[in-house]
Symmetry: C2
Subunit: 514 residues, 2 copies
């Protein structure tokens, strides 16, 4: 078998059986080899930002990595923004980046560039230098990805087309490292100190099993719980313990952490301001507050929390969120009422991909008591996350409805994800929150203290002139679409979309908050 065939066989035998890709000439042998490894599903994206975002969404829901196939340095570069988000999500991905044949690189052909330098900015990088070594390199890449990191395997064309490839032995799924007993006991002491304490949950700490243990601890000791600001995947809704997220604005976090003396990190990082602002703090840990690490993001966080709960709350039950939905609202859409439509109609077992940005400020409250669901959030702040991530989530859990709540400005970064939804018949309902502005920047322009806000500045925050028409945009890519002006429209169209298989887009005209 050639290198490409050995690589694909190795990936499949290591549990990586979905590859999102956008190939070029240097990847043609990999593409040709897809037919010889039937277990590998290949999914085409029309832009690499779609490909990498889909791999992120897939891994968040499948709890295992997907592969990507990218075309040399420019292909990787196009995918870096969503790889950045995946890095912040601690989502494992195996990028296969084609390169020129080893002997061809010296000629500095037009597509030559420093692929390793690009890849290293998001994680582990290796260039495979021989067909014989390729399978072992691929195993290393999968191991890295299984540990929640981005692994980039650079595949020179001659290594791919060369003969003498052999698949590696199958690779088992990994086990998360266990938190040491002495660490658990030290945290127990903190929780029993009687001082004001917060447990900050991150990574797998926002999944149901961890939340149940954390809720028991909170009930028994009185400590407060928060989830990190932008969780990779948070399980919530009726029957799951509810936990608030730390706010996006530094002022909110300061308020949430008032008088806290101990901050226990369970898979989360210590809170810092998303951006710097003149005269405002960057480190959001209050003065006189000690930070304690219970678990690193990739540790077995749920087991660590359960170990603590078994000590401090042996007979305590978690407090579960009651089932409770908002009333269906009426009238023109507003930032207040559209979220009530979602809360009122969210189907059982949904996955929400949330890039609603400012339009979605009230979403968590409106959906708190909806049927149990997952929410995937924009972990790295690099916009253009929503639509691609929804693709990957829908591929990972095809039997669950995926709801993509998508701000308009961000949608334009990776809109061609809609085409992949149509081609693959994915059950994704996208609601585009069309407020015709980069609304967050209107807020931020004030917050950074920029003293001039003349017409040229405001022009750059404005997405009208011309207005974007997301119904036409979706239709152009084969996705049925409708437009909602009122809460009643949105409810009708949302119900209808959920009742039909395949993707749908609803453009919801929402006034901007700022």
């Amino acid at each position: 078998m050639n290198g490409a065939q050995a690589l694909l066989r190795t990936l499949v035998d290591a549990g990586v059986n979905v590859c999102f890709g956008n190939p070029g000439t240097s990847e043609m042998h990999f593409v040709a080899a897809l037919d010889s490894v039937p277990e590998m599903r290949g999914i085409l994206g029309l832009f690499e930002g779609v490909v990498t975002g889909a791999a992120d969404g897939y891994a968040r829901m499948a709890d295992k990595p997907a592969a990507t196939l990218l075309h040399l340095g420019p292909g990787l570069a196009n995918g870096l923004a969503n790889l950045h988000n995946a890095r912040r999500a601690r989502t494992g991905i195996v990028n296969v980046v084609g390169d020129h044949a080893t002997y061809h690189k010296q000629y500095d052909a037009p597509l030559e560039s420093d692929i390793e330098a690009l890849a290293t900015t998001v994680g582990w990088t290796r260039t495979s230098t021989s067909t014989e070594a390729l399978a072992a390199d691929a195993v290393e890449a999968v191991k890295v990805a299984q540990s929640g990191r981005i692994a980039t395997l650079i595949l020179p064309a001659d290594v791919s087309w060369g003969d003498g490839g052999a698949a590696a032995a199958p690779l088992a799924a990994p086990v998360r490292p266990t938190v040491a007993e002495n660490v658990v006991h030290a945290i127990v002491d903190v929780l029993r100190s009687g001082e004001s304490t917060v447990i900050l949950l991150g990574n797998a700490g926002t999944r149901e099993r961890a939340l149940r243990a954390a809720s028991r601890i909170s009930q028994a000791t009185g400590v407060k719980l928060f989830a990190e600001t932008f969780p990779t995947r948070i399980e919530r809704g009726a029957g799951v313990p509810a936990v608030d997220r730390l706010g996006y604005l530094a002022e909110q976090v300061t308020w949430q952490l008032t008088d806290v003396r101990n901050l226990v990190l369970a898979g989360a990082k210590s809170p810092v301001s998303f951006f710097a602002y003149p005269g405002k703090a960057s480190d959001l840990v209050p003065d006189n507050c000690k930070v304690h690490v219970l678990a690193q993001p990739d540790d077995d966080i749920a087991a660590a929390l359960e170990a603590i709960a078994d000590v401090v709350a042996p007979d305590v039950e978690p407090v579960l969120q009651e089932a409770k939905r908002p009333e269906l609202p009426q009238g023109d859409l507003t930032p207040q009422n559209w979220v009530d439509v979602i809360g009122a109609l969210l189907p059982e077992n949904a996955v929400i991909v949330d890039e609603s940005n400012t339009s979605g400020l009230l979403l968590p409250t409106a959906t708190a008591g909806a049927p149990k669901h997952d929410v995937l959030t924009l972990t790295g702040g690099s916009i253009g996350f929503g639509l691609p991530t929804a693709v990957g989530a829908a591929v990972a859990v095809p039997d669950r409805p995926v709801i993509c709540l998508q701000a308009d400005g961000s949608a334009m970064y990776t809109a061609s994800a809609l085409w992949t939804m149509a081609r693959e018949g994915l059950n994704v309902t996208t609601v585009v929150l069309s407020n015709r502005s980069y609304a967050i920047l209107k807020l931020e322009l004030q917050r950074v203290g920029a003293d001039s806000t003349g017409p040229k500045a405001l022009d750059w925050l404005d997405l009208s002139r011309p207005d974007l028409d997301f119904v036409s945009l979706a239709t152009a890519m084969g996705v049925p679409a409708t437009r909602a002006a009122t809460a009643e429209d949105l409810a009708d169209q949302f119900r209808e979309s959920l009742a039909q298989p395949g993707p749908h887009v609803i453009e919801a005209a929402i006034p901007t908050l700022f």
Copy 2:
């Protein structure tokens, strides 16, 4: 004045008075400062690939750099693919990339990443560390860009918002280095050797002044002329000396350079194969052919060629292309006849941005005798170049009609450039060559010798299921659009588009060549 104001004033005084951008929070002071420097024109792109491609197109036509404004590492990453093309075009660009405040970087906030590592892959990079130093850093960046390279100035938010900024002294336009006399004389000896010789023209060597000198040399000495395969900007058409480009396929180049004993590089690189193929050569210089360098890409190539012509062809006139257009064809569109429509109707003084890829193989012949025009080509092989480059070209030369010939697959990379065309009212007629496939890859799949072409492989080269509708796509972004099925349709719609101001899109259904 604050740092941002000093930076903008410095850029304008150095001749950089257009900034394409897509900002975020860390760039808000730069955005706010736009209103205090009225000479700087700010143009919003909805994705950074549009922003950088526009800067490339602008510089190719304006012969001076534009600035870009990009949001941290992910914003730069999104722009890298078109910066790669600009690097290969030797187009100067000044990227201003916002970063976190200097004191904030230590906190590894969500958007933190290694911006310098990314920027270094495309050129010169500097992080400005104080408001006082910013203007001097900007002057260095502009000097680098004036020399035809990509300059990235990383601008921490506190350096931007800090007080104490002062603009630098105005900077004059640069002068291209002159080729030394002894080099000219050595090349004269080669040209007079009587051996079979080719002059390969690149960079400014494909502009009219250089082409006229090269034509005189060719007439006097019998040497053959070729332009590089993908010129940055080639001036051609009636009244300009015609010169063929080297082929894209290695086989074509081998044929074009048969028996050549001397290859004289005038601003071009020595020819190499675009990709490697099993068993085929990478270096396309024939055996027994000597390579001589007359001029580096950034030298004053026209002056060097004129110096030679003054020696070898003092009384010889250049041979100019006759005016000659194809007949207007009839019938269903084909790869053969759509180019004849363009050749028959190309307006005076047009700029063609050519990302027609396989659909445009016959374009050079069909337009050879059309009125004098410029052609900008895909220098770096990174697709998604056409629409953004057309934006920049139209901004640089607003009185000239810009014709963007755009392959469908590549169009999907940076389609939101259409929105910027609409907002700015740019005179761009885009013809989307819709063959519903990555046709080049169908050819390449065979050429690399991939032995299996099963349904999964072919699926990744196919852009149907669903079909892309470029009329809806353009309309969604405020650009009027029509669809042409026949040569008559295309002619009517092309004429109509040219008669109306502002942008238009024509989707032309072309069968795939492969």
